[in-house]
Symmetry: C2
Subunit: 366 residues, 2 copies
Amino acid sequence: MPGTAPSLESKFCRSRQETLRRYLSENDLDGAVFFDRHYIYSLTGYWHEQPLTPTALLLETDGGATIVTHFEDPVAPAADKVVPYVPNHLFTLKPNLCGCVTEVLNPLLAGLKIVGTEQQTPAALIEGPVCRDISEDYQYLRRHKDDDEVAALEYTIRSADRAYTEAKRLIEPGILEVEVMASMLEEATYSAGEVLSGWGQDYACGVPGGFARKRKIEESELYVLDVGVGIRGYRSDLCRTFSVAKNPTDEQYAAWEKVVEVMEMGKGMIRPGQSCKEMFEAVTEALDGWNGFSFFHHAGHGIGLDAHEVPRINSGWDDTFEVGDVVAFEPGLYGGALHGGIRLENNYLVTEDGNRQLSHFPLDLV
Amino acid sequence: MPGTAPSLESKFCRSRQETLRRYLSENDLDGAVFFDRHYIYSLTGYWHEQPLTPTALLLETDGGATIVTHFEDPVAPAADKVVPYVPNHLFTLKPNLCGCVTEVLNPLLAGLKIVGTEQQTPAALIEGPVCRDISEDYQYLRRHKDDDEVAALEYTIRSADRAYTEAKRLIEPGILEVEVMASMLEEATYSAGEVLSGWGQDYACGVPGGFARKRKIEESELYVLDVGVGIRGYRSDLCRTFSVAKNPTDEQYAAWEKVVEVMEMGKGMIRPGQSCKEMFEAVTEALDGWNGFSFFHHAGHGIGLDAHEVPRINSGWDDTFEVGDVVAFEPGLYGGALHGGIRLENNYLVTEDGNRQLSHFPLDLV
């Protein structure tokens, strides 16, 4: 049965607003103007489910949170004001929908000198204040996940699990990658109970990653399914690997055992204060070169509203785990004899005493 | 079997670029900076299939078409230059991806004073020229569809047809609306052979429209399925209505016959020089009030890259059909006894001597 996405809680939305307001105040910004539906949901609890029309949030540094939407009576637990706009004329959508939003938004900006914007804010249509892109800083501000956000991420994991169950049912030599992907999408959508806000990523078989192709999967291959499911903006990131033959070779099985072992080792390092870079190095040390196979990519990253967030389990950054981080950890082994490689990925919440594993779909190759 | 999206033709992309360049020149704009993947595809033939990362097009009024993308060696038949950017660092995505694009784009803008932008252009990150939103005008410039665009729309119709076939197979009393929607999405995706660029719209049963709910459809109802399928940005818009019982009442059947009759009548009016408003009035005259039922919405609209484009078959605008228009025409009847109503929608290309119907899925209620 389809589930129901858990609502975000007003008190947490307000707390996230306060975090953003503090930042705005410290950076002499008079407010923030966001158009990203995902960000608006996170900050107000208002989910704009209509992908054809835009919506906007004005968060004033010394004022309230105002949503501009065309839905009457929207569920917006942490909004102080809802201002309507009209996207259509006698049912037909107008040609510049963001312009329809800014037509009612711009008068609300009178008196604001500089506002923070993100990548989806159509700054060319904002009149009055100067727009300063704060996308990067806003990703850092979102790093700590509140309980309602963890629940939202767990809900997306539930849909990914459904998709994996379907994949295991379908995978056999000769099926097209795109058929596996489309069927997994159906299951994830049905399970979510609504159209997904995000869907990715790796559905190519016999290789470490890539989009689904119109190609038949082959008996000898391992199928690395790296699946990102987004619901109302929150996006989990899991990976499982399945043997197409349902009968892995000894070499494939041994490599799988090694990745599972490293997954346990790494899980032990996901705790407050641990250097993410050191964890990356420990994982790489354990995997890269093992039995002649390689481990060539990052070991993981934060998740939330963007596909990759802070902290990064990667030698290219020097992050440290903090309580409230939600991270994807993804060890793997690759090389010719594996016919695609093995990657396993779970999601974890960093807690005071270590971590809580959020994803539980079996790791097995078969 | 899944199909393969037809490629856009270089000569038509170039012609569309020239139309935009003429506009830029006439409006004293030195170029256009677009981030909308769909617009970039239409203008250059380059499809950026990666939804997690942005891409950009700079079209100089007195120069070439430059694409900024992180894909090496992209298929970009009508681009003069491809400039790479790096969205990740050792596999992890950077926190401000549009900023990564503008980092390499901004130096190319040196010397440009004013550029045209659209709703997805992150103007706050553009340095140098003033950004002027031209979204509305650009919709008008796209009105005439070239042969390759018509083929792209026909390809999306093929996927919608697959989705309708699946719906007819599944529909029976007790199935959830969201199950029907998810299964149709799977079929459309499989048929397209790739992840869709757009998916909508009305999957609520027993009512004239709305999103899919976790609700069981009922025997007495008519199921109005208004389906928008987008592939590489091009989006068709069809509607069929099915009897859940596979046994419409006399009243439902008579209303269906009436809508089919008006569909034929309206099709006869889709020809160059015809006032769209007059067509709307003729359709409304024929339907609204018939047998006590209502016709309360627009009679159709152009399609292409936005869900609704020019021309509008609507009393709120005064458009006239032109050769090259591709329009959706959607007569309907609604009222209590119909238990949801009847809407039928086909897509047509306006030709010299009338129109060519692009969609052919049977109109039947059963």
